[in-house]
């Protein structure tokens, strides 16, 4: 290393200079890792007390594991196919009324409350749903398939994850440089040849990371499998953990299942971190001309868009149609509804603030460790940076039911009562859930700001609060809004931790809706679902309006 004689002094200076901005983030990461280790220790410690590990698991559970793998793999393939087809069609049809709204709607699938989607799908595709009644009137026969079972699970997974990857893939396709398009046009290639030679290479890099994320989400799927599984035949490990606690109160079995889940997820997350994608798509040359598509290709694109939009919107429409008939005056006067609404709004606001704050601190620390003019050149900086990123991905390895089981065991030994620990568990779960997405937005943005403005800011002696107010905040405003909205919606729609902790004293809107769906009061369920849908879409689409202004996209 070719440092000048002043190097040791300079190094000391940089360390003390960047410590104030890196330390809070590093502390957050350390706390998150420590917390998860405590919970893991709770689970492993209690489970290890048995004669042999996994003693309570039988042949049925290995079949369960096999089925979960099978289901997640099928779901992933389906979701990617749907997402790719829609993204391809949308990238060719650049101008039509409502296109940006449609794209925003597709991307909202990420935060759409799963319960609401499931309810909508049942209304449309149930044995007495819209499609079945239509088919009976027209052809005199009902539907040949049932929404309950593997078909329903796959459908719901493809619906939510397929729409969610449209935006990422669309971004990749739109980033294809205009020069390459011009070249293709002059060569007169067919639609298929173009896809194979130009478009597939453009999206290929995103496929592996998207696939692993979707696979993990489907592997740990809870609400969808709980509601559409139809029978214990189609379970995931998450649902099996839930059943071991709630139906059998067999903690030993729940612990074994949780450890198995942790093991599998840890392997998958480790594998997936090898496909880290650099998701800084910079569309330098926005192009204005259309692809020279054949009539057949255009027809295919339009049918894909129309069909995709119809399939996506119909279940949501069903929620609106069913929900409007609900008795809202009675519903809003019901004490249990008021409590659930207040708790949900409070929790969602708190976790939005918490997630945004923690993500900013983590991103700031990561920036300090990555940028070479900060601490990036120091030994070990990149290792600490990876650990930091890993702390934001904990949720994928430590899904909701495992997390809540850990908290549940902790709560039994500590004072404070279940309700207190339930709210802590919910906040932590919601924070962990939002962090991967929040860091993916803040991380690249803060790094870019650092790279572009550090020199000027350092020479002006800007630091701390002043620098944040003058440099970061004006550039990050839109991204902060997006992360707030994202984490708010994710928390609002989550039926994970609450499934284990929910009670008459502590309920959230998803839990309240889940209870209503299981009773006669289906009208109430539709009403609550409508409220959740409107809340989520309003907050998300409001934030999505600004998304184009997000700094990472520029």
């Amino acid at each position: 290393m070719a440092y000048s004689t002043g190097a040791p002094f300079l190094l000391h200076l940089t360390l003390s200079r960047f410590l104030p901005s890196a330390l809070p983030g590093l502390t957050c990461a350390a706390l998150l890792l420590a917390l998860v280790c405590t919970l893991l220790w709770q689970i492993a410690g209690l489970s290890g007390g048995e004669a042999t590990l996994f003693a309570s698991l039988g042949g049925r559970d290995w079949a369960l594991l096999r089925f979960t793998f099978f289901q997640a793999a099928l779901s992933t393939i389906l979701a990617l196919t749907v997402g790719l087809a829609l993204a391809w069609a949308l990238s060719h049809q650049r101008r039509f009324f409502g296109r940006s709204l449609l794209v925003a709607l597709f991307s909202s699938a990420l935060v759409m409350p799963t319960l609401v989607v499931v309810l909508g799908l049942i209304t449309v595709l149930g044995r007495r749903g819209w499609l079945a009644s239509g088919s009976e009137t027209l052809f005199g026969v009902g539907l040949p398939f049932s929404i309950y079972g593997l078909g329903g699970i796959l459908l719901a997974h493809a619906y939510l994850n397929g729409s969610f990857c449209v935006q990422t893939l669309l971004g990749r396709l739109e980033a294809i440089p205009a020069e390459r398009r011009k070249l293709v046009r002059s060569l007169g290639l067919s639609a298929w040849q173009r896809f194979r030679l130009i478009e597939w290479p453009a999206v290929r890099g995103s496929i592996a990371p998207l696939a692993t994320t979707i696979f993990l989400l489907c592997f740990t799927s809870f609400a969808i499998v709980l509601l559409l599984g139809g029978s214990p035949r189609y379970n995931t490990l998450e649902v099996a953990i839930f059943e071991a606690v709630k139906l059998d109160f067999d903690l030993a079995r729940a612990l074994d299942l949780a450890l198995l889940q942790l093991l599998v997820c840890a392997v998958l997350v480790t594998l997936s971190s090898r496909f880290r994608v650099v998701d800084t798509v910079v569309a330098t040359n926005p192009w204005r001309f259309a692809w020279p598509d054949s009539r057949a290709a255009r027809a295919l694109q339009w049918s894909l868009i129309t069909f995709g939009a119809a399939v996506f919107v119909t279940p949501l429409l069903a929620i609106v149609v069913d929900g409007i008939g609900a008795d809202f005056t009675r519903l809003v006067q019901e004490r249990s509804f008021q409590q659930a609404l207040i708790t949900s709004l409070l929790l969602a606001s708190l976790s939005a603030l918490l997630a945004t704050g923690v993500a900013l601190l983590l991103a700031a620390a990561r920036r300090d460790l990555v940028l070479p003019n900060r601490l990036g050149a120091r030994k070990g900086a990149s290792a600490v940076a990876s650990l930091l990123s890993f702390s934001a991905l904990l949720y994928l390895a430590f899904p909701a039911l495992v997390l809540s089981l850990g908290f549940f065991l902790l709560a039994r030994q500590l004072p404070g009562g279940l309700t207190l620990w339930a709210s802590v568990a919910l906040l932590v779960a919601n924070l962990l859930m939002a962090l991967p997405f929040a860091l993916a937005i803040f991380g690249p943005a803060l790094e870019k700001i650092g790279a572009r403005h550090d020199q000027l800011a350092f020479s002006l002696g800007l630091s701390g609060w002043q620098r944040w107010r003058l440099v970061e905040w004006p550039l990050l405003r839109h991204d902060v809004g997006m992360v707030l909205a994202l984490s708010f919606c994710l928390s609002l729609g989550d039926l994970g931790v609450i499934a284990l902790f929910g009670s008459q004293d502590f309920a959230t809107l998803p839990w309240y809706l889940y209870q209503k769906m299981g009773s006669y009061r289906t009208d109430d369920a539709a009403g609550v679902a409508l409220i959740m849908l409107v809340l989520t879409l309003t907050v998300y689409l409001w934030a999505a309006r600004f998304q184009r202004g997000g700094y990472a996209q520029r």
Binding site: K246, L247, L418, L420, D505, Y520
Partner: protein
């Protein structure tokens, strides 16, 4: 961060507790009863029971609903020492031994009344019966023309004939059906489950959800009780809903309640237990829970109940015998459905 979230959640908890305490500001003692949802519902027995009991106890009676009866038991187990439950109501004799083994329940101290009229002798000092019924599949006779008259006929109906049942791990009707099939088929029960597996639309956590799905048309038959048609007959004046009479006989259910040992209102809880066998409570049962009362009251059964099918053969296993087999039968059932 953890410190921060603890603080935040404490604030949140405070806010929730405040709204809760504002409503229950009265200084009357409160008796909390955990029960299954259809008992606690507005149209179930709870509102009338609450009104009648509060007249004589100078207390507040609160029902807390869970999605199933066994769910209420698990809730008490889950909450451990923190539980607010004073009484658990709605378990049946098939699950009492499992409940007894948790050590969470205290003796009820109620003498068995002379007018007790249930399908079994009663000596249990912890669990007290309050009603009984016979499990049965219920169908809509305007939609199902030739309802099955036996398990074999149900099997012969083919895969298009759909039924909805409850999970034996959470629901007492679900467990009842498991034992019913076991009583009829013995060692061949698993084979029977395998053969009707395609007919099962879905397995619900509790009775309400299953019955709701059936009424919405998601299934041709639902596992319920021979007394369920009385609800449609008396409350809705509809006579198309029927219970399918099975020639193998019907499995009976005796529903019980018990005091939670950790209660701080032991006297009040005992008073409530005695109340469940009073004529007042017993006369509320038939037209709200739609089952048979546990005692012969002065008023007798309401009009309409005489039209119901009374099984010629009653099946019911001893509680201890059930507990020996329960886990094994549930495992077999799960395995059969996993085929």
């Amino acid at each position: 961060m953890t410190k921060l979230s603890t603080l935040l959640s404490a604030a949140l908890f405070g806010a929730t507790a405040l709204t809760a305490s504002a409503v229950f500001a009265a200084d009357k003692p409160e008796l909390t009863v955990y029960t299954y949802d259809s008992f606690a519902a507005d149209w179930g027995p709870a509102p009338k029971v609450k009104e009648a009991f509060e007249k004589e106890c100078d207390c507040t009676l609160t029902f807390v609903a869970t999605d199933s009866a066994i769910g209420a038991l698990r809730k008490v187990q889950l909450e451990g020492a923190d539980t607010k439950a004073d009484v658990v109501l709605g378990l049946d004799t098939n699950i009492t031994e499992a409940a007894r083994a948790t050590g969470l329940f205290a003796e009820h101290g109620v003498e068995t009344p002379d007018n007790l009229s249930i399908p079994v002798e009663w000596t249990d000092k912890t669990f007290l019966p309050f009603d009984y019924a016979y499990f049965s599949f219920v169908y809509d006779s305007t939609k199902v023309k030739d309802a099955p008259g036996s398990f074999e006929e149900l099997k012969a109906k083919g895969d298009d004939f759909k039924i909805v049942i409850q999970d034996p791990r959470s629901s007492t009707p679900g467990l009842g059906l498991l034992l019913w099939v076991h009583s009829v088929y013995g060692d061949k029960a698993a084979d029977y489950w395998k053969s009707i597996q395609p007919n099962i639309v879905t397995v619900t956590k509790g009775w309400s959800e299953a019955y709701g799905l059936f009424l919405k048309g998601e299934a041709d038959m639902v596992l319920s009780y021979t007394t369920s048609p009385a609800y449609h007959l008396i409350a809705e004046e509809k006579d198309q809903y029927k219970a399918a009479a099975f020639e193998e006989g019907h499995y009976a259910q005796v529903e019980v309640s018990a005091i939670v040992k950790s209660t701080k209102n032991m006297d009040l809880a005992k008073q409530f237990m005695a109340f469940t066998l009073s004529d007042t409570f017993q006369d509320i049962i038939p037209t709200t829970n739609w089952t048979y009362p546990a005692t012969k009251t002065a008023a007798g059964l309401p009009k309409g109940f005489e039209t119901l099918h009374v099984p010629s053969k009653t099946l019911l296993l001893e509680g201890t015998a059930v507990e020996e087999k329960r886990k094994g039968l549930i495992d077999d059932w799960l395995a059969a459905l996993n085929q």
